[in-house]
């Protein structure tokens, strides 16, 4: 069965420091991968999605970036964090095609607090 991992689970970082969040998926090949942010009391906002190694698309302009160095690895980064980057970051995967392509499955999330 497929599983998705994220780490770290929680992170407290000062403003201006760098960020690296990692997501890995097991039990599937060639998944679509997604990064979302959930601010307190709000829905999930899509930040990045990837359909393959090295293929990243950004949904919103921001000081974050994403990379996909391996098929089942997705990384969210920042060179300098802002206070507004605080939130709950979720990684998700979906099949590329077939009847389950619309379903996205989420990792456990990383709660980031920028101080």
């Amino acid at each position: 069965s497929q599983t998705i991992h994220q780490w770290p689970a929680t992170l407290v970082q000062p403003v201006g420091s760098p960020l690296s969040l990692e997501c890995t998926v097991e039990g599937t090949s060639n998944p679509n991968l997604y990064w979302y942010r959930q601010a307190a009391g709000r829905g999930l906002q899509l930040l990045f999605y990837s359909v393959g190694i090295g293929q990243i698309s950004s949904e919103v302009p921001q000081n974050l970036s994403a990379s996909r160095p391996q098929d089942r690895q997705f990384i969210l980064s920042s060179k300098k964090l802002l206070l507004s980057d605080s939130g709950f970051y979720l990684c998700a995967w979906s099949d590329i095609g077939g009847p389950t392509a619309y379903e996205q499955y989420f990792g456990p999330g990383t709660r980031l607090t920028v101080t």
Binding site: Y102, Y105, P108
Partner: protein, 113 residues
């Protein structure tokens, strides 16, 4: 602009009550509608609805989609304290060459004993 609106934003009920959560949407290139339950961390998948009028059921939870009126409802019967969670509705649209999920803000359900 594509949008998904959920109501109510929060709901407090007692065990045994039946609740109905609402999700309305305005999107281009609708593909499907998904319901998720979010407790403390990751949202967990509940239902995917693609066709109007076909009820999806899982235990005490059921959901239906109306593509003419652009809404879906999620029903929970005989609620239990374990049903306390945020329920998220998301609409799948096809945009920019890929399937994109647009989420509502969620309904926070609290079930008291």
């Amino acid at each position: 602009e594509d949008k998904v609106v959920q109501s109510p934003l929060s709901l407090v009920v007692h065990e045994g009550d039946t609740v109905t959560l609402n999700c309305s949407y305005e999107v281009t290139n609708f593909r499907s509608l998904l319901w998720y339950k979010q407790e403390k961390k990751a949202p967990t998948f509940l239902f995917m609805l693609t066709s109007s009028g076909i009820e999806k059921k899982s235990g005490r939870l059921s959901s239906i989609l109306d593509k003419k009126e652009l809404f879906s409802i999620l029903n929970i019967t005989a609620t239990q304290t374990g049903d306390s969670a945020i329920y998220l509705c998301a609409v799948v649209t096809f945009s920019g060459g890929y399937n994109k999920l647009i989420f509502g803000a969620g309904t926070r359900l609290a079930v008291h004993p």
